[in-house]
Amino acid sequence: MTANNFKKILVPVDGSKYSDKALKRAGELVDVFDSKVVVIYVVEKSVPINLLDRKEYLQILRKFGNKTLDRAHTILSKKEISAKLLLKEGNIVSEIEKAAKAEKCDLIIVGNKGLGAVTRFLLGSISNKISQSSSCSVLIVK
């Protein structure tokens, strides 16, 4: 079954507890399938930001991104998994898709919702878009 092997798993994180859950699930899958993990954080650039604060705001986001990636790294290294960390900037969904293509990932694991409080009862908007448009399989952790 060559087509079914999860050789590479992409885990997009946003620092929420759902993305932690996704990481844990990725760790379980790695134990079984011996796959590689790529963790990605995307700094969202598509929202219009006040021109004057733009630089500062993006810097804060980048800092937060690095922090979450560090945290992801520690979570995974507890299970003795070495992950590749990526920090991208741009539109979240398209960057995740690009990364999935560039890294030739077989599976994307996302939490069912992120930091958005409005969509708390529903599937998160990002998870939804990823599941609609990605070309590889998606596991949604709840």
Partner: protein, 143 residues
């Protein structure tokens, strides 16, 4: 085996994509020594559910049962135990309800990206989407 997916639910509609989902589920079940539950839903339009003559359609479950038998054969070849279940109703709603029912103890739902609705072929299938949103268990979408 660290994986906790002991019971995997695979909704089937007889399309190629749902078979791909089944293959993936078999693959996963082999790793975790889990069992599969196949669920096949016969679509019943709401009108017929109320109409007394709707129940006279005895042939209706034949197709569904055939799908389940095929699935059972496929799983048995790989040495995985599969229990089939056929129900009549609205596919999305009933799949989600079956998965959420704590009696069934489902750990993971594996769905094909799209089923038989050809008009929406470009997108994620409407039923997969419904299950994604309404199901409280992890969902794996197979493309």
């Amino acid at each position: 085996m660290a994986i906790k997916t002991k019971k995997i639910l695979v909704p089937l509609d007889g399309s190629k994509n749902s078979l791909r989902g089944l293959d993936m589920a078999i693959h996963l079940a082999r790793q975790s020594q889990g069992t599969l539950t196949a669920l096949s839903v016969k679509t019943v339009p709401g009108v017929y559910a109320l109409h007394p003559l709707g129940f006279l359609d005895f042939n209706s479950m034949k197709e569904v049962k055939k799908i389940l038998a095929d699935a059972k054969l496929r799983a048995a070849k790989k040495g995985i135990q599969l229990t089939g279940k056929a129900i009549a109703g609205d596919p999305g709603y009933d799949i989600a309800r079956f998965a959420n029912n704590s009696k069934n103890k489902i750990d993971l739902v594996v769905v094909g990206a799209r089923g038989r609705g050809s008009a929406k072929e470009i997108f994620l299938g409407s039923v997969s989407n419904y299950v994604l949103h309404k199901c409280k268990k992890p969902v794996l979408v197979v493309k």
